[in-house]
Symmetry: D2
Subunit: 341 residues, 4 copies
């Protein structure tokens, strides 16, 4: 079958012919890939940034946001059948460790991550665990939801955690209304009645945020902290959702946070640096956020099916993967690029 593989870090991936994956474990599932999200992490992998972390052996197939149809199942698989339309939770988890049994499978003690540390979805077929498979109901189609499998799931997970504490009258600042942020805004609107303030450098991103329905948009032009404090009676917001996590975003975000507030770290790249006296004297919290659980993804699919979360996508056939990656790298993708094998 055809697959897009990284053969050498620093070089463009190649479209190659590889053997089809087969069932090797009674819980395996082979998925015919219907859509694979093209993610900034793919660019980082190609550059070699993940070489140490993943330890994956080259060549291998990238692509970690996948949806499609079940092609074949292992002997022990009973809850999905050949032909089922599915989206894949990005992790293949064990189901037996304490975390998996506790609704926290993201912290599975024995997980694999197809597209990161094993063969992924830039291919016609993909092998994963039966535990990763979520059946899609009509009208959801693989091409519409694939990019929710990782980027969307991360945004959902963070907002879902925050939503438990957000009460009407509380303010949420969304820093960064890009790929993850604009999903986060939709989830906020679906799960809370918070007053939402969106901060971004880009006028386009702010326009998109306005279209999604938020209370305030604030251009990050140097006066954003002052503006947000003004919008919150000088107190700051009860919740910051930081989808940027680098540049001045962190310092800004902390300055916008109210006493007893929660700061959700979602984006990354920079350093959080803060005197402990500032943490204790205002009793603020910094909450880390990784991708969501399998059940989180199932819930996000419900929101998608109910029309509460939608993605802009641009599709490319598999053999135009290079153009897709190039478009992403050069900021020419509006929404998310999707490979359709």
């Amino acid at each position: 079958m055809k697959a897009v593989q990284v053969t050498r870090y620093g070089s463009p991936p190649e479209l190659v012919d590889v053997p089809e994956p087969g069932i090797t474990d009674p819980f395996d599932v082979i998925v015919r890939v219907g859509a694979a999200g093209v993610c900034r992490t793919d660019l980082h992998i190609i550059e070699g940034q993940w070489e140490q972390k993943s330890g994956v052996k080259l060549p291998y197939t990238i692509g970690h946001e996948n949806a499609g149809w079940v092609q074949e199942v292992g002997a022990a698989v009973k809850h999905v059948a050949v032909g089922d339309k599915v989206i894949l939770h990005p992790l293949a988890t064990c189901g037996l460790c304490r975390a998996c049994r506790d609704g926290d499978d993201v912290h599975c003690a024995n997980s694999a991550f197809p597209g990161i540390d094993s063969d992924g979805g830039y291919a016609e077929l993909l092998r994963t665990s039966a535990r990763s498979v979520i059946t899609l109901d009509d009208p959801l189609e693989p091409v519409d939801v694939a990019a929710l499998a990782d980027a969307g799931l991360t945004a959902y997970h963070a907002v879902r955690k925050a939503a438990r504490r957000i009460r009407p009258g509380e303010r949420v600042v969304v820093i960064g209304a890009g790929g993850l942020g604009h999903i986060g805004i939709q989830v906020l609107n679906a799960l809370t009645s918070a007053e939402v303030i969106v901060v971004d450098r880009s006028a386009d991103a702010l326009a998109l945020a306005s279209d999604l329905g938020v209370d305030h948009v604030v251009q990050a032009d140097g006066s954003q902290v002052e503006t947000v404090l003004g919008l919150t009676g000088g107190d700051g917001a009860e919740v910051i959702l930081d989808f940027v996590g680098e540049g001045g975003a962190i310092e800004d975000g902390v300055a916008m946070l109210r006493r007893a507030g929660d700061y959700y770290v979602i984006g990354y790249g920079g350093v959080l640096s803060i005197p402990t006296i500032d943490i204790i004297s205002t009793e603020i919290n910094f909450i880390g956020n990784l991708v969501g659980s399998y059940n989180d993804l199932a819930e996000l699919m419900v929101l998608a099916a109910r029309g509460k979360v939608a993605l802009h996508t641009v599709t490319y056939p598999l053999d135009e993967y290079a153009r897709a990656l190039d478009d992403l790298d050069h900021g020419r993708v509006r929404g998310r690029a999707i490979l359709v094998p």
Copy 2:
């Protein structure tokens, strides 16, 4: 009456005669001070470190850990009566703001802090709000519990928050078994069945921790991170309670924290500095902790009355305040120094 006042920053406080405080508001309560804790913060106030933060006008009476007997009450006070034995919540709160109404009076929008920003308890009498007064039942006496009013309350508050998530089999690292830490250990034992690991530089502190009943004591001699990882199967602990918050404690604590773990910042002085990728890739949280609420203090008094939390104290008459402060400053106080006016 006699009172110990700061008259000039940088100079020793003086024992002076001042007018007795009177009722000025229908919710005022005048307390005859039975015991006033001598706290490291008092030393910092005298040095002038709080000059900017408190904005208090000199001269004024210090002492923010107070217990005694009700001497006089304002016209609107009905829930306490003259002669009642009481401990004082350190904040005089408004009772009307959203935080006060939400069980979170520590974040009262309109609070005063006797001993910090108004006259405190190094005196024969003290004026506070009726909202601050907690009646003490026998066998509790002011001299036994005064130091729980602030230091103990802070430790209780942090452990109480952590206890909500701690389940049998989880590990808690207590960094620093000093004044707050040894209360924290007692509260952990009272509220959880956690496996408790105590890390401290001082062999004396570790001996005290052992007497209180903990699972492991670890001397901070350079190999403490390795030791704690060894005690936790290489994973780190689910909860870190950092009563130090400076020096290498923070870096150590973060290195001892398990994936999805919670780091409670209680002590302060240093800087938390951590790449955001490390926060998100392990999904860890940093939880700020200030002093506890009025209800927290009431609960701590229950633990004290049930014999589950106890303090070592050394008492001094009011006019030996200078000796008490000097002993504290030079590490000669075992447990807590208490002034008895």
Copy 3:
């Protein structure tokens, strides 16, 4: 001033001239009543059903859903000022007991209930505690929100509790889409993405529910349990909000409840009768619901101001109170009747 008083149980209330209330406590507030909701409980009071429970001495002024403008304040009142536009939390609470300090003022150990056990709002002026007063921001007006003070608050409180556990994909059955129920539906839509199923006997009520935007309406014509089970894959709903609490509603509701589900008892009148084996073998919960807290009411005002919760109202001048009560008694009020003194 003019006031509508119950003078004898079983007889119509009378419009009489009574002395204006004055400040008797430093925390008193006198409110010029702008709107007083006419509630079915008022009918019950007049009939004498509350004689034993309230122990109120006749004659007294009824009306427990009140909004208006501050007319006069006691000496200790600083957080509201004469002229402020306000809605009143139905309870005048102490602010000092454990419940009040814990965000649970509904269970205040020392509360009064104007309109039930002391003079209420069917009058030109009303005396309450400064603790009960919530300032209304434009565009909210007393006449629009008065009926949210008790009926709306009860619905909000129950839904708010349920919302903490409701996740996308879960189903909520609303039994009874009348006065409280139709507020509950709006709050559900504001705070959750639940799939909402409304069950009522009345086609009108179901039509209103449909207009508010729900997923399914089910006429209670005898097959409602079967229909709801059909809509939930045979499993039943994760949450039942029972705004009826009598007749066959309870038996129906229990039959519609899924394993591990929560049954919110809001309406009352009937008896919950269920074998304990049915409670434990499916591990279901029955959750009692009283009126909401002060902070709950503040949050509900936010939803009202954001246009997410609205009431249909019909207004009457104070001296047409008899017509208002009569219309209510005979089912001629669409939405809520409001007296405007």
Copy 4:
């Protein structure tokens, strides 16, 4: 191998020779039974009370509280090995449904229950799922913990839920200090600092409760409600743990429950019957409790290993099963009877 089987309802079970169970699924585990708890439910099964509910086909082997050693594992089993010392979670769950993935495997959509609906542990060998197996660390031995697998787990699960809300100063009434109740008391002492009040008809049970360390024991001699109200300042207790659930226990328990309190239904047999007005006017909750999750059982094993929960046991060889059942039926077992095959 030898096994004790029910061959006809209403007749004594028989010790028979049956084929050894073998691996039939890649996730099967065969356990050599080291200890099987003899439970009142076994008597009920023999009498035929479970015929309809379980639908099991006779003859079959009873015994649903099992511990022992791993004898053989299926091809896909990697987390336990032959020879491991284990206790078995009573349910064999699927690991794939929403409940299993949510830390709530008790509500698994596809579970089996060995000893109830398939062959259990009154035998030399038992087949279960690899998902049910919890490794026991020294010094725990199968014979000491087998009876915790179901009875103890139910008590743990209920107390663990209650412990989340219990704060120092709150009162918990334990109704029934028998098999489950005396485990519940130990778990309360391990996880909370509640003031514990134990109510039972039996002086022996109360003596055992006193030995375990509780605050008050109350003989259920007719004045128990009055006594408990007296012990709680007339208010009742914040939490009732009802391990009886029949006779007058429910009415008593409700009468002992404080406003806003939680009533945990654990024992069963009677009917909860209560006017809805009594549920809403005091805002009380009734919480159902089934057996605990796999992770709950793992936590209970931690408490057992730490010496915080212990059972009295009397052992019988497998072929004396009839004597064990007879002793249980006639109240001659102090603690729990355990078969040792």
